[in-house]
């Protein structure tokens, strides 16, 4: 008997909830993709929770960063919240050119990817963060496998980044070793940091590593599009890539059909905006302090109501 009462009560609330949220265009779930790094999952969860507040149904689908474009083109997947200018540009252009995927604008965050060293290396290698100073003490970074060259731990080959070309063009005494995944990358950093051992490696931001470890990005000659495309530009007249890596926005993309099926949601996605610092703090709370993503997002939602409620107006 009691159970029946609970059930009918639940039904009643559900019915009233439905009427309250009836203004959304479609109740079909909007599928947001999640990848394998925390920042992206937080971004996506914030977006999802905001859409839920507006009355939409959302579903989080785990998908590979690049492989997801196949799903976005066909409408199997609907929204991808983080496409980095630095790593995803090619795949994104390819998808938007097909006409089935649209760029929903920047997330407000800027991607930084560059060579990075822990602060204690400044004692061994004065003159850092300048790249010439780094090159002068390349021997400090040598390991038995790379000696006499210094060892630079690059990202997985799939990330691109032109580090092999950069070392060649700037005539640096470094050997590029590619990690297979970013887990391996940060495992090495953690290990070296514990021993205060020399290391210089590829770090990207926003990421918890820049919050957990004290260190700096190496300063290369500033990036320009010409530097990458035209050998004559830059300090080495015979080679391209004689400069640092580009920084750029982190984009949001969506299946074209989103704007037709859920116009209100499309507007909210376009309006989504957060900055590097806010995201860095959230990522740190999850990855360093061990809080759950849901708790951190719920907390953010409570403290930033004025902000997100303007997205769904």
């Amino acid at each position: 008997m009691t159970k029946l009462t609970i059930l009918s009560a639940a039904l009643l609330t559900a019915v009233s909830a439905t009427t309250a949220l009836a203004e959304v265009e479609s109740l079909d779930p909007i599928k947001l993709t999640t990848h394998d790094w925390t920042g992206q999952i937080i971004t996506t969860t914030i977006m999802g929770e905001v859409l839920k507040k507006a009355g939409y149904n959302v579903e989080y689908v785990q998908a590979d960063y690049i492989a997801q474009f196949a799903g976005l083109k066909t409408g199997d997947l609907h929204v991808a919240m983080e496409i980095w200018e630095t790593t995803g540009r090619e795949a994104m252009d390819d998808a938007t050119n097909s006409g089935n995927v649209v760029n929903m604008g920047s997330t407000g965050m800027d991607a930084v990817e560059e060579w990075w060293y822990p602060a204690y290396m400044e004692k061994v290698c004065p003159g850092l963060p300048d790249w010439k100073a780094l090159n002068d003490c390349a021997a400090e970074f040598a390991t038995p496998e790379t000696a006499p060259m210094g060892r630079y731990l690059g990202g997985p080959v799939t990330w691109g980044g032109f580090d092999d070309e950069r070392v060649e063009a700037l005539e640096m005494d470094f050997e590029v070793v590619h990690a297979g995944t970013d887990a391996a990358l940060f495992a090495e950093l953690e290990s070296a940091y514990q021993r205060e051992a020399p290391i210089v490696l590829w770090i990207y931001s926003p990421h918890w590593a820049t919050a957990k470890y004290d260190g700096k990005f190496v300063q290369f000659p500033p990036y320009s599009a010409e530097c990458y495309s035209d050998p004559s530009v830059g300090m080495n007249p015979d080679a391209a890539y004689d400069c640092g890596k580009p920084t750029g926005p982190i984009w949001k993309v969506a299946w074209t059909g989103v704007a037709d099926k859920w116009p209100g949601a499309a507007d909210a996605i376009k309006a989504f905006d957060i900055d590097n610092d806010a995201m860095g703090t959230l990522v740190g709370r999850v990855d360093l302090d061990g809080e759950s993503i849901d708790a951190v997002v719920a907390d953010w939602m409570a403290n930033n109501e004025a902000n997100w409620s303007s997205w769904i107006k």
């Binding site: 609970i6 559900a14 779930p29 925390t38 199997d76 297979g180 887990a183 940060f186 514990q194």
Partner: protein, 667 residues
Amino acid sequence: MTGIVTFLTKGSRPFWLALLVITWALSTWSFPLYKALGARWIIKFPKKYELSLDTWISNAMTWLVEDAHFILFTFRDLTRFIAAMIEIPYRIMRSLLIDGFSLGQGQQAIEIAPSISWIAIIGAMAALAFYAKNRALAWLAGLCFAYLAVFGQWESAMVTLASVLIAVPIGVGGGLALGILSYRHPWFERLLRPLLDLMQTVPVFAYLVPILFLFGFGPVSALVATVIYAMPPMVRVATVALHSVPEEIIEAGRMVGSKPRQLMWKVLVPTALPSLMVGVNQVIMLSLNMVIIASMIGAGGLGYDVLTSLRRLDIGGGIEAGLAIVVMAIALDRVSQAFAIRRVRPRPDPSKPLYLRYPLLSFVMALTVITTLLGLWIPAFRLYPEALTITTGSIWSTIMEWINVTFFDTLEAIKTFFLTYLLLPVKRFFTGIPWAWGIIVMGLISARLGGWKLGLMAALMTLFIAANGLWAKAMITVYLVSVSVLIASAIGIPLGVWAGQNARANTVIGTLIDTLQTLPSFVYLIPVVMLFRVGDFSAMIAVVLYALAPAVRYAAHGIRSIDPELIDAGKAAGCTDRQLLVRIKMPLAAPSLLLGLNQTIMLALSMLVITALVGTRDLGQEVYIALTKANTGQGIIAGLSVAFIAIMADRIVTALARTSQERLGVK
């Protein structure tokens, strides 16, 4: 001419010596040779003759996904229909185990029935184990599942269990069906065998992309990949099991007038059931092996927890989730093995009431109903209360840090020693071999050991690898595998011999090996990288840890299955223990050791693809790059190359084992 032929096929020592010397010389001087002759084709397969198979495959795939159709519906509609058919039972299973049943979508959803209480699931598992064997097994299974609850892994574990409970019946059913077809039609078996070889040797990463395209993003694709990976042993076991049903039993079946269908389902399958259960066991274990990879494409569950923990270097979290996979594997493995050897018991007395006839079933039903209903009011019955979960927290990270800070220099010295005196020389040897000589030498070795057909096949397979521009990466693969197999055998065979002679050692080593095989390699890959940095050495350690198991198991099996009379004879002749081992046991165990070697090579190859995640430059990396770039063709070509290396190694070692068996006159 005949002289050469005899030399190539009959001559023993001179043949192998000549082959080794020529290969070594060519490997050392191939580069100067190319410089001297100006012939770059010596070291690199000419670009203009390279096959563009990968582009064709990618195009074919695009056509299949976008254009192919059978008048009424497209190919994609067909695969999506299959996906939907798999998704329904999967959703039901998940609802049952963890999610609960609900109506409506998203926020409008209303729960209409809860999921089963965790207490009932543990109880059901224990009851199943009791039914299969005895009280001890019931305790084991119950405790394994209790671990999942106590360590806060319950929800993820149930998601994983749901996919295993769907993948296993599909794998077993499909495997049995294919096995029956192979049993009935020898031509079908001949057709299927190479396909099974490929299913077992092509790395999973290679076909994940096409599966994602065809079956959509989400758990169903992961299930399909799991079934493809886990089914082959079932097909093989089913075929063998049906063939080994005694002729007398089949005759008896025919005499009572069974039709073919009745003969199959009432006579053959029941008789072969114990053997078939071995296949079921294999399917379960392989499905659990796939948990990590499946989680990369959306299966979620424990594999996902392992990945995310390690991505934030939470080693303790990774180990806890990894061990959850291990205990689940142990529980399911022991219970399914118990079913394989379970004796048939008399049917219950029909005059008794139902609940007395099936006391266990009634107990589980009652437990389920009561705890699940209680769960509606008391949340602790529905889900294990979070406040009571325990965790090892940061203990593991602290231990890791201590090892790292204290022993790094020692470990570094050991690593440098191995790199200088073993890894690098072997690497130079293999990568120096010119591709053209590689083809010839593979052909010669295979022809010498397994006849000209095998020789031709090996030469063609090697040509395939070279002609797709993968020679250099293939040689790095061969180098990493051979070094790892060497070290795995050097550690594994002595351990196995010890385990084969000493029951207590056997228990300890057996547990260790089981854990190493079911613990997802990612769990130890990251600590290994912390201690040994990114590079070949870390990859090698991971491969050795994973590929150790068969070396140990087969060595132990080989020692145990020696005829005791032969050992007694040796003792009577006055052999010391040492002589007994070296002169009698080891030679007699040789065929078994070779089979172990074969399996070690297979596991090492399958692991190489995972080590691409640390950063090796081999075929595994090629497959992984193809996966992240969603390039179907590249992935399949590199995957096939790995498969071909595996198939060649398998055939050669099998041929070696056969000759050594014949020489010893043992089976």
